[in-house]
């Protein structure tokens, strides 16, 4: 069954075929988004995240491979009426916020009555209802970003593609944006979220893909990615202090981390010392740790 957004072995090169400055932005990139998920798209600067998004929206063509957006080939204009897009460093026409939203909505074929209703609704959602008649040129960067999100929501899209949506927002606005995205997801929207804010991705995304130098280095469920399979945290009771390297003892409970290969030896040692094993769990890392590890190593999937 086709996904909401599918990349099938997509490669994108910048520069002409004979150019000396030819750069490969995406290299045999394959990915599939499932309906109803929030998908985090991560990667260092220049990894190819924005290129992948622009290909999906038909702003550029792949050098090789192909992709489908909501079941249709990339670049199909009609399909884009079912998608909401927020660009990185959003650039808006200098018009009052409500008129601007109606303009973008009308480009997707929305009727006047619905435009009026939706523009009011989405401005309220992004907390700009009181600024509806103000020209967006007079807005702060963060407010413009929120107008950008509002225009992406105007057509009540099935798929939201957001490129760094929180980059210009203050912490409170970030929390509000997060809530908004979760609400949109509960309403059945699929969200493709590219961001540098790893903590945010960690909090809201069901699945995550990490891109490095145009190649997909990891993709999987967020929870599974954060769980280490090669290190375990052991909690024991009744073990003499200092029995294990780097262990911490408090109120008779000793905690230490062991590599997966020495897990059995460590447990047997606890028992031989007369202790009791309380729990053994895989070490949980932060997304930042996973990200740094993967993008430094450049491992393949």
């Amino acid at each position: 069954m086709p996904g909401v957004l599918d990349y099938d072995n997509v490669t994108k090169d910048y520069g002409g075929a004979w150019s000396k400055r030819r750069v490969r932005a995406l290299d045999s990139f394959s990915l599939s988004l499932e309906r109803g998920e929030i998908f985090g798209f991560l990667g260092p600067n220049g990894a190819g995240k924005t290129t992948a998004i622009h290909l999906a929206l038909g702003f550029m063509r792949p050098s090789a491979g192909e992709g489908r957006l909501l079941g249709r080939a990339f670049g199909d204009a009609g399909t884009r009426a079912r998608v909401g897009f927020l660009a990185e460093n959003v650039a808006l026409y200098h018009r009052p916020a409500n008129k601007l939203l109606r303009f973008y909505g009308a480009l997707n074929g929305m009727r006047p009555e619905r435009l009026r209703l939706r523009s009011r609704e989405v401005l309220r959602q992004v907390d700009l209802a009181t600024e509806a008649d103000r020209n967006v040129a007079k807005f702060s960067r963060g407010m413009q970003q929120r107008v950008g999100l509002a225009q992406a929501l105007m057509n009540d899209p099935e798929l939201l593609i957001l490129d760094e949506p929180t980059s210009a927002l203050d912490p409170l606005a970030r929390v509000a944006m997060r809530e908004l995205l979760l609400e949109a997801n509960r309403a059945g929207k699929t969200i493709f979220l590219s961001s540098h804010l790893l903590s945010e991705i960690e909090m809201i995304c069901h699945r995550v893909a990490i891109l490095d130098k145009g190649r997909l280095v990891k993709v999987g469920k967020t929870d599974e990615l954060l769980v280490s399979r090669d290190r375990f945290e052991v909690v024991a009771r009744g073990v003499p202090e200092g029995s294990f390297e780097h262990s911490q003892t408090q109120d008779g409970r000793t905690e230490f981390v062991v590599p997966a290969v020495s897990q059995r030896d460590a447990l047997e040692r606890v028992w031989s010392l007369g202790g009791e094993v309380l729990s053994v769990n895989p070490v949980r890392r932060t997304l930042e740790q996973v990200f740094v590890e993967l993008t430094n190593k450049g491992d393949d999937v």
Binding site: F59, R61, A87, N89, Y93, R95, Y104, N108, G148
Partner: protein
Amino acid sequence: MKAVALIAANFLREHRWPVLILFAWIVLTALAAGGFGRDRVVGEDVVFYVQQQAIYICIFSAFLAADAIHNERKSRRILLVLSKAISRGEYLLAVILGTCTMAIAYTLVFGLCGVWLTARAALPSGQLWSVVVLVMAGSVIAATVAMFFSTFLNPYVATALTLALFCAPGATHVQRHAWSIWLPGLPILVDVLHFNFRPDWTVNWFAAVLAIVEAAIVWMLAAAVFNRRDIAVPVE
């Protein structure tokens, strides 16, 4: 088509200041040609005014159309517009529509100023409206050709190429040949440059219709080229 009209209207709105300045320019040059208090205006001055403004309007249309895509890409505003249910061809059609609407408004102001001048020079103004229609057709083909070049070239190069395409055949006198009527814009240019308020001056209406047909063909070519362009790549 509604989306095309909306983008065109937005394009007009974005360019309202240069257009207003050009309107002021037409009126001021008409006043200058009108002699500021001279009792009567010389016929040659009116002919010069009409020919000069007619050419300016076509050049202005070419310049405006050539710059449109570049500006939108540079400001990155094109991304949100083309993320909607708009095809590249419709987007280009909107740019042409916007440019031509401006050119038509510009031409109408030029026509009104021309009528005032012909009245002061005691010349018949009927032929002037034929020139106005020719200029409108000339603007459409100039804007479309310039936009076609701008889909793959820098806007300044696109404008220069457009002007060369329209002017070079005239400079080499190919207009003497019957086949020259098929060269885009050339028959219109020749008609305007021969305009003289005399009864023997006639308009080649076929050339005006041909210019519109050619503009439609060039638009289709431009859409085919623009479809293959990476619009998200930053322009210099």
